[in-house]
Amino acid sequence: MAVTTKNLPQLYRFCFLMTGDAAKARSAFQDTVREAATRTDAEEPPPDRLWFFREARERCLALGEQGIQAEPGMLEEADISSGAATQIGQLTPEQLALWISAAPDPQRSALALFYLDEFTLTELLSLLEMKAAELSECICSGRRQFQSWLDATVAYYGEEAYDAGQI
């Protein structure tokens, strides 16, 4: 699939999920698109849309290295509840981005790319350079950790959700 400016909002969303910060996301996004434009001018255009996300991932990870690093396996996990969708509905995109950007990589990249709902499984595996089992493990544990965080942050009582507080 060719990359056009119509694909760029998804690229920005990816940067935002990876960094959890609008300014950092903008920086990673702009640098990636500029690099693509430079390569195109030099008759070496990006081969496909995956290139944009690989490039942006590297930039986001580099920006993330400047802050505190998360360690794997530090979060509690919980089974996905039937009211999870309602709990999630109480969140803002910024809260979600903060949570994902705090995850250790490659789980962070896996969650960000997966929830863009943009790629096939084959594309995801190619982007992340991992096997299906590893990707599945990253996403499953991410879900359970997020549910645990949801339970601690956004309480759920039947059909109504109760926001226990801001993160």
């Binding site: 969303r13 996004f29 698109v33 999870a84 995109p93 499984l121 995801l124 599945s136 499953c140």
Partner: protein, 254 residues
């Protein structure tokens, strides 16, 4: 340890896209109709809710201008070199080349065809399979056989053209062929050449149009030079190419 379908379900797509892997489709189908339907349903609802939240990520106005700037990422055009190196293009080009060559050969083969060319080719097969012992021995000039054919077999205008009239003969015969009808065959000493005389083929309108020039037919290494006079075709046959016969025809012209 989770099995393969459980692993696949872990990263089941949020919205099903075209070209989804068959194993993934099967795993999803089983999950939806199996014991874990409720758990999988919760997972799908969970994923869909997060995906919706991701779609709601705001993009500031300053950045939105980048999306509208169509020339920011020029559409990469595929260079002609890349197109030419594509195996599919190469395969199609080779196929077209072969079809073109075969068609050109067939067109060339029939370019100088004349009514009776098929008969002439049939007689080339006769020439290829014949031995001189099958013919009645007769040593004379080829021209002298015209009288023999007329007197003995009542074959009118079965004349050997001037180009080959002086050739010494080894033998001759007259035979009936299912398609060619009455055929007179002469075996010459010169290069083991054979001559055939046979009735001309009328054209589509039923007319027999004579031609005084020489027209060539080829079949499996044998070549015949044909001329048609008075409703009778004469064909000189030699094993070899057109140039082997042309030498005799041009010699006579000089």
């Amino acid at each position: 340890m989770p099995d393969k379908s459980e692993l696949l379900l872990g990263c089941a797509p949020i919205t099903e896209k075209p070209g989804m892997d068959r194993a993934m489709r099967v795993a999803i189908n089983h999950a939806r109709h199996g014991k874990k339907a409720a758990t999988f349903g919760h997972q799908q609802a969970f994923d869909a809710a997060i995906a919706k939240l991701v779609r709601d990520i705001p993009v500031d106005e300053q950045l939105a201008e980048w999306f509208a700037h169509e020339k920011l990422i020029p559409v990469a055009r595929r260079g002609w070199k890349k197109i030419v190196r594509n195996p599919v293009v190469i395969a199609i080009a080779i196929a077209l080349l072969v079809i073109g060559a075969v068609t050109a050969y067939r067109v060339y083969e029939h370019l100088n065809d004349f009514p009776g060319a098929d008969k002439a080719r049939r007689l080339l097969t006769v020439a290829a399979s014949n031995r001189s012992v099958l013919l009645d021995p007769l040593q004379t000039n080829a021209a002298a056989l015209s009288d023999l054919f007329f007197m003995k077999h009542r074959l009118e205008h079965y004349d050997v053209p001037a180009e080959f009239a002086d050739f010494k003969t080894l033998g001759s015969r007259v035979f009936d062929d299912d398609e060619v009808r009455r055929v007179a065959q002469i075996w010459a000493k010169e290069k083991r050449m054979q001559f055939f005389l046979f009735p001309a083929e009328p054209d589509k309108e039923g007319k027999v149009n004579d031609f005084s020039d020489w027209r060539f037919v080829e079949l499996e290494g044998w070549t015949g030079a044909v001329t048609q006079r008075n409703g009778v075709c004469f064909m000189a046959v030699v094993r070899g190419g057109e140039k082997d016969l042309r030498a005799y025809l041009e010699k006579k012209k000089q």
